[in-house]
Amino acid sequence: MGFTDEERTKTFYLEGIKAGSTYADQQIKVEFDPDGDEGAAGWDVEDAVRITVVSVDADIDSDNDGTVDDTDDPIENKTPGCIIPKNLEGDGEGEDCLESLSLSVAPTLPESTAILSGDSGIRVWTTIAKTTEVTLPHTYDPASTMPSTLYVDGETAGTSADLQITYKDKNDLEIGSDSLKALVTETPSWAPAKQNIAYVWSSLHTNANSNIGNNLGWGDGDAFEDQLTDQDWDVIWFNDTTGDTDTDFGSCTLANYKKMKDCGALTVICHGETEACIAVYADTEPAATSWRGTESDMTTEYWPAIPADPYWTDDIYVVKVDSAWHASNWAGTLNTNKAIAMWSICYSAADSGGSSLKEAAGGRWRSGYRWPTTETEAEQTNNRFLGRLNGSVDSGNRRTAGEAWEDGNGYTYAHSYAHVDPLNVRMDGNDWTTLNAAPDKNHPHFPDDNPSKRYGWGCVIFDTYMRDATSAATALVKKSGGCSTYDHRWVGNTYGKFAIGFDYDTTDGTATTMQAKRQDCTNYDALWGRPLDEDREAPIEDDHEWSF
């Protein structure tokens, strides 16, 4: 052992490689034969110590592959750690996303304690059904009362949290600990489906209606078009440009009105009233009646000219399409499409739900007007709301419908009933609705700094559920650098995928640039989605890149 007359003490270091099964079940014994094998004395001198190999382990799905296993442990202390969206959003709202946390200490020492601690921004529950919250820090005394599984809930989006388990003996001395990281991301949103199709219905699309009371303008549709095309939507107009006193409906045909539901976003610009939209305008009753054919919940209405009124100089016939028709013909598909439906017409929203157009026609996010509206008000509303959704307003910080709507803050514009009700526009629906996918607002990608020379796990995180039919290796590529990246894979939950992860090896120390390709990182859609907005601000221009 290397003892000499001068060196009478030797120091060795122990490594526990397997947790003991009981207290002090391991022994280290030193025996001493003072005169060696050939002397008379035997192994008469000895001393021994007892040892307990302690294991303290906390595990979570750190590589975000859906399982807690051996691959998680080596990277559990590195960012991002386990990605936990604040909530999940299916077709309903507000479903919590909880991640399983495995805990163990071994052996269970008498009178020992285990302390679970963690940063704010996460909450821990005893069951996935959130039966009882474990308020942190929490001491399990004795340690044997600590459950083997708890559930971690993301509370504050943007939090990069540490979770730690500390094992203490009966003297309150720390005898082991383990820690891991978790990242709370914002709730993933859904963007509307139906590829990139948005429709505008503008059946009074002229300054030259015979009744100038029908000159409503279409600047609100222009705003809708401008904001959506900036986010790579195709905006298709159905217009009647020939005025209100002919039998030419232009492209405002019944067939096209029925097709309006087959979109991801729509706006309707015409006259409206409580529970009805005045869809088309003609100079004869047969023309209007022929337009509606045998459709239920549509009626022809005669609007007589009003003598002495310069706004209403000509008789016309219109087709009134009731909420009930929209409920039967549009709502199902618009809901399935997770569409954004913006009714730029008077009385299209009710305060108490019910059967106004906004409520009846469906869609994941809906807007309408409680009172009469104007082109100017609707244009301002569309520019503010859709500009926020596409990121050009408020620097990409209000890209979800809930953030963009902001409970109506800032949407108070001039209108004829402002003295009764300053806020005319009404919006509601699922707050977690976006136009397109973009990188996560708080933590778009990892590694987000120099990870030093090591193996690790990185990712790009999106704010919207993605179309994972595209290969992850195609959607996220290494653009340059010597770091090896491998096993690119979509990351998500039962509803969908909202990140692409990859393993990396930076042991050669070369700076590496990753590229999430905008055309391949698209929002979820059965056929194809709209491309990624790399900087969260319209227009979409480049791929999302970062280096580490």
Partner: protein, 307 residues
């Protein structure tokens, strides 16, 4: 005011004014023998240039414009010509059909009586029926409080021999059943959405705003497909640059018209584009130009090989 006529220019220079017509079919075949000065005078009159003047923007070398399938060569100059808007020579916003606006029928000074010509068998669309409804409603509005409007108008309708009964109504309508069996809802108050002011300056300002918006769209490099039935498809810069070469290949190919429509729907996602339906002229009247072919070639170089 009667039905509208559509003003269509196009071809080379501002040389044609067509009455109701279909631009892609009519372009280039009308009024060619008129002296130029007379033609332009007629055009100016149609566009009310004397009243509203002309405002032309700067030529724009970006974006793509198609009108009924025909590619318009850049640069694009968006002009407000009187009360209409043109991109190059194509009318995008129709001029007002007449100016000044017509004066309304005068308010009746006496309580209208049921025309003696009306009988039980008179069709409800007879001009005398409609005339009575119009003047009676106006008279009631002018002489009685709004709260009595529905009741008094219903009573007036019931006095008509061709009315079977008044079925009731809403705060905005009265519904009547005629002796011929038809049922009509008659609006008794105007709809609520405020209309745009129609004075000279407001019209001019609004059209100039529209012109500026078109210029902005093209300056952003977007693509726009106009159709003479009022349809319009707007596409972002990214989308038009990535997809136009593919669309061009479809439209310029030898495949059948039906297959072209199908390919357009599948490639662009424009499910609404149909033969004999929306946007049909994109396929049936597609016309390229040397400039378009050059721009497509440039896009192909930029985009690289198709995936």
């Amino acid at each position: 005011m009667g039905s509208r006529r559509k003003v269509v220019l196009g071809g080379v220079g501002l040389c044609m004014v067509l009455s109701v017509g279909f631009p892609a079919q009519s372009r280039g075949n009308d009024s060619a023998d008129q002296p130029t000065a007379a033609r332009n005078q007629a055009i100016d009159a149609d566009f009310h240039v004397d009243t509203f003047g002309v405002a032309a923007g700067q030529p724009i070398n970006s974006g793509f414009v198609f009108v009924d399938g025909v590619y318009l060569d850049a640069p694009y100059t968006v002009t407000r010509r009187g009360s209409g808007i043109l991109v190059n020579d194509e009318v995008i916003v129709q001029p007002l059909p007449e100016w000044p606006l017509p004066t309304p029928e005068p308010l009746p000074t006496e309580n209208p009586k049921v025309p003696p010509s009306l009988e039980r068998t008179t069709p409800h669309q007879h001009p005398d029926v409609l005339g009575y409804i119009r003047t009676k409603l106006a008279y009631i509005k002018a002489n009685y409080p709004e709260t009595e409007l529905s009741t008094r108008f219903s009573e007036a309708l019931e006095s008509l021999p061709c009315v079977e009964r008044v079925k009731g109504g809403t705060p905005t309508t009265v519904t009547v059943e005629w002796t011929d069996g038809d049922v009509t809802s008659i609006r008794i108050v105007p709809p609520a959405r405020a209309s745009l002011p129609m004075d000279e300056n407001s019209i001019r300002g609004r059209l100039d705003g529209e012109r500026a918006r078109l210029e902005k769209k093209l300056a952003k490099g977007k693509g726009v497909f106009y159709f003479s039935d009022g349809g319009e498809i707007n596409v972002s810069k990214n989308r038009i640059e990535e997809r136009l070469p593919i669309l061009f290949d479809i439209l310029a190919s030898d495949q059948s018209t039906e297959k072209k429509f199908q390919a357009v729907r599948e490639t662009m996602g424009w499910q609404v584009v149909k033969k004999d339906g929306y946007g049909s002229t994109l396929v049936t009247h597609f016309k390229s130009s040397p400039q378009l072919e050059a721009r497509i070639a440039e896009l192909r170089r930029k985009n690289g090989p198709p995936e």
